[in-house]
Every structure is written in C-alpha cells, then in structure tokens.
C-alpha cells in the first residue's frame, strides 16, 4: 500500500568490509507517529539511521519516502528530501548562538550569490518564534549554546530538526546524556512536535521511554528486524526478551 507510510525501508543491506551491519532490514514508519527502534549494541540501529540520514549509502535494498524511492549521496541529500537527524552528540557549535545554530548552512540572505549578506534580525526573530511555538525553555536565542544546559541544548537540536524537516525527524538516543527531569522535558517536547504533525523515528536504549513515547516499535538483532509491534500491544519485558533473543532459547 504505497503512500500510507511516511517511510518504508525494504530489504536494506550494508557491509563494512567483512562485517555485515545490515542484513536485509525492512520496516515502515507511519506519518505523525513516534516509531521506535530498539536493539542491543551492534544490532545495526545506528547503521540503519545513518543510511536513512544519508551518511552511508546502502549496498542493497530500497528506501521509500511517501511511496517514492529515494537515494542519498550525502546528508545534504537527505535533508533536501526533508529528513532531519538529531545526533547523539548534538551537532551544535558551542560558540555560536542558538539562532546561528538553527540556521547553520541555511542562513537567510539578501543579495547576489557570492556577496550574500545575512538577514541576522530575520533569523533571530524566526528562531525566537520557533522556540516559543515549541515552548522550549531557552533563555534567549541570542545566547551562545555553550551557556545552555544539556536539556536546553537537546531542545535546540530538536527544534532545529523540526523546523527544517518535512518528512521525518530521526533521533539517536535523544535523552542518553540527560538527567531525569531533563529527560521528561525532552520527552514532552517530542510529544508536542508529534502533536504538531511531525513524524519521528527514535532509537532508544531506554525501554520505559519507548513504552511512554512510541506508537510503533521495531526490534533489531544481528542486522535484521526480528519483530515489530504496536507499542500498546507489547510489554517492556517482552521487548527485552526479543532484544536479547531470550525468547528463541526459552
């Protein structure tokens, strides 16, 4: 049924030398939902999202956005197709301000190409609007990112991704480095952006978080997707069993 999925991954393969990181991965992401991928270290989660965000080119298989097959030669290609990624290490430049980070490499400008001047005020204003609209608790968009807390930085990274994505926001362990309270704030933010219509694909080690946030969950093991569930139909304990492969042996 093409078109009913925001993203469809079909039989994706990727090897690094002798290591087969992905051995035929297939999954779907429904629009306007949080879809989670769980799996142990080395299950292939990171490789999969790097294929989706254009960092790696897959060796085989297809990626479809809204039913259309796409190929990414670079992260820029993926971004042009509306896929934004929130990286584990945040990908923010500490010495730049919040608004400079939000508009990094997508600056609003006036004038002809080689002598383009930045519309600093316009960028500042729309960054402030963005931050307000997502109810992100950032002191001021004119502050350098270095002065923000871990949760605020993650909020900026997510806000930036939401602003520029039209298809999908990928989040790689969005709360791994955060404390409890900040984790809760970031989860609230993720719920808000999904309510506003963004589609999210999240990798998480935190099963409770997956249960709290997602509507669909895919389990990866050994470079394959071994199962998929509506989150409401599965328990955390069952997911753990599937991730470790315990179910097959018991």
């Amino acid at each position: 049924m093409p078109g009913s999925h925001a993203v469809e991954v079909v039989d994706l393969y990727k090897s690094f030398g002798n290591v087969e990181a992905l051995r035929g991965v297939s999954l779907t992401v429904r629009p306007g939902e949080v879809t989670a991928i769980v799996g142990d270290n080395g299950a292939g989660k990171s490789t999969l999202i790097k294929c989706l965000s254009g960092y790696h080119a897959a060796d085989g298989g297809r990626i479809l956005l809204d039913g259309q097959e796409v190929r990414f030669g670079s992260p820029l290609d993926a971004r042009r197709q509306g896929i934004e990624t929130v990286y584990q290490d945040l990908a923010l430049a500490d010495e730049l301000t919040v608004w400079q980070n939000i508009f990094l490499n997508r600056e609003l400008t006036v004038g002809p190409r080689p002598l383009r001047l930045m519309r600093r005020r316009a960028m500042r204003t729309s960054a402030a609007q963005l931050v307000d609209s997502l109810a992100v608790s950032v002191p001021s968009v004119g502050k350098t990112v270095r002065r923000l807390s871990g949760g605020q930085r993650q909020a900026v990274a997510i806000a930036r991704a939401v602003m520029w994505s039209s298809q999908l926001v990928i989040m790689d362990e969005p709360t791994a480095a955060l404390g409890l309270r900040e984790t809760a704030q970031v989860e609230d933010l993720i719920r808000r952006v999904v309510d506003q219509g963004t589609t999210v694909l999240v990798i998480s080690h935190n099963f409770e978080q997956v249960m709290r946030l997602s509507q669909q969950v895919w389990v990866m093991r050994g470079g394959r997707v071994v199962s998929g569930h509506r989150t409401a139909d599965v328990s955390g304990v069952e997911l753990v069993a599937e991730v470790t492969g315990a179910r097959e042996f018991s």
Partner: protein, 323 residues
C-alpha cells in the same frame, strides 16, 4: 520553589559568563587606553598627533597580518607562513615593478602570491588533513627559500610616486595607508559577521563534526580561511615595500609572533570558533603603541620580542582556564 532557585542559578551563571566575555573583548581596548596614559606620562612627545599618526601608520602591517591570522586561528589553526609569504610577495612585487609592469599589476601579483600560498596551506590542512602547524611550517620554509633563491637575498629599491603618496600623504587627519587598512578591516568584518561564510568559518573552527552534520563542506571552508591569511600576507608585502622603500627578501618571523599575539589579545579563542576582526586589529595597534612607547621611554628594542612572547603566553594561559 525548586524551579526558581534553579532559574536563579542559571541566571547568575549566565551573567558571570557574559562578564567574562566582556572582559575578553575589553582586553585590547582597555590595555590600549592604559598604555596611552602610561606612556603619555613617561614622554611628553608621546601624546602628540604627529606621534599618534606615526604609530597608526606603523601599525599597518601588524594589523593586516593580525586580521589575516585571525582567520586561521578562528579555525582552531595557525598560519606560521605569513611572514615568509610576505617576504616572497615583496620579492615578486619588486621583480614585476622593475620589469616595468606597473604598480597595479605588481600589487595584484603580490596578493596573488599570498593567495597561492593560501591555497597550498588550505588544501594541505583541509583535504590532506595534516596539522596546520606542520603544513604552515613547511610552506614557511618553502616560500622563504624561494624568495631568497629568486632574489639572491638582495633587496630591490622601489620608489613609486603613488606608493610614496600612500605612505606620507593624508586625507583629512589620517594617512592613506591607515585608511586603506581601516577599509580592509571593515571588509573582513562584514565578511565575518554579515556573510554566511563567516558563520561557517566559526562553526568549522568550533566543531568540525557538527559542521559536517549540517552539510558544510569542511575542507572548502578551511581553504577560504587560509586564502584570507594568504591574501593579507600578500597585501602586507605591498605595505612593506611602501614602508621600507624596497623589497625585503629576508623573512622577519617576529611578524608571525606579533600577529598571533594581537589575535589573542583581541579575544580570539585559540580553540577556534570565537573571533572578531576589530579585536585583533586593536591588538596589533596596541602592540605597536607599546613598542613605540617603550622606545620613547628609553627601553632597548631588544626587549620587544620578549615582551610580545610574554603577552602570548599570558593571554593563552588565561584562555586555557576558560575551557
């Protein structure tokens, strides 16, 4: 309420941080005012317009090199080849001028030499990914050598009426060479703070991975930074010729140290990502003022490199504590 105390702490932290930033930015201007007052007390001649104007003219080469160097330092790099490039560019300027190719072409060739060295530096740092220190040390030796081979080490006198006018005539109260330098500083300031490429340079200097993730072509951005360094070395060579009245095939590496000192005094982070153009420009003026003032106060010129060296170490240590 928990939230309030937390917000209060954050607020205090932000205020302390911004004070610190202001302090870094204020170093060069504050020290400049202080030096002015001290030297005015030491020598009655210091605070005359004649002397001030002379110092501003003397500062032309250090300012050009400092703002150029800033473009390498904001990338968390350094360009050690600047003084050598300046020497080679002056030699090429002399060759072109004595061959009768005219002033304009000679100036362009001089800047062209700088751009070529900038391309080499930028490609080796950005694409081959060799540490900036090693690359520019290598090109420093190379350009120094070529300059000496081509010129046989002999300075060529250049007396051009236009160059002499730029060196000695004034528009209003200011000499032409000072005004040209101000223009260059303004252009580079616009480039850094009002053009996307400026943000990209700072971003790459701050966090290469983040910049890549945002689709910036890191080697290209680094190349642009080193091109600006090179262009400033080439332009400084023209100022050297008009200042000394001849080409200077021998490299004076003091210029490199001074440029780094001025850059650091101007609040540029040695770890990259934070820089202004006016800061290092003021830093270079400050160093020139101190040099002139010390001479007037009867301190031997031999002390100058030591003073600059102490400034570099002190400023860099202060910055070390910030990370």
């Amino acid at each position: 309420m928990l939230h309030d105390t937390r917000a209060g702490r954050l607020h205090r932290f932000a205020r302390a941080a911004s004070l610190e930033e202001t302090w870094m930015k204020a170093t060069a201007p504050a020290a400049l005012v202080l030096a002015g007052i001290v030297f005015s007390m030491l020598s009655p001649y210091f605070a005359t317009w004649r002397n001030v104007n002379g110092m501003l003219a003397d500062a032309a080469i250090p300012v050009l090199l400092a703002v150029g160097m800033t473009f390498a330092v904001m990338l968390a790099g350094i360009d050690l080849s600047m003084a050598g490039t300046m020497a080679l560019a002056s030699v090429v300027f002399g060759l072109s001028y004595t061959a009768g190719w005219g002033l304009a072409l000679s100036c362009l060739l001089s800047i062209g030499v700088g751009l070529v060295v900038g391309v080499v530096n930028g490609l080796f740092v950005g694409r081959v990914r060799i540490p900036d220190m090693i690359v520019t040390l290598g090109t420093m030796g190379l350009v120094q050598g070529i300059g000496l081979i081509v010129s046989r080490g002999i300075p060529v006198p250049v007396s051009d009426p236009v160059l002499q006018a730029v060196a000695s005539s004034s528009l209003g109260p200011f000499r032409y060479n000072f005004l040209i330098v101000v223009l260059v500083v303004v252009v580079l300031h616009v480039m850094l703070t009002h053009m996307p490429v400026g943000t990209h340079l700072l971003s790459v200097g701050d966090n290469v991975e983040a910049s890549k993730a945002m689709g910036l072509r890191v080697p290209r951005v680094k190349l642009i930074g080193y091109l600006v360094c090179g262009a400033m070395s080439g332009l400084a060579a023209v100022f050297m010729v008009l200042y000394v009245g001849s080409t200077q095939p021998a490299t004076n590496t003091d210029y490199v140290m001074k440029a780094v000192a001025a850059t650091v005094l101007g609040g540029t982070s040695l770890f990259g990502g934070r820089a202004t153009i006016w800061g290092p420009a003021l830093g270079a003026v400050l160093l020139t003022v101190v040099q002139t003032g010390l001479t007037m106060a009867g301190v031997e010129a031999f002390y100058e490199p030591a003073v600059v060296g102490v400034v570099v170490l002190a400023a860099a240590s202060m910055m070390r504590g910030r990370r």
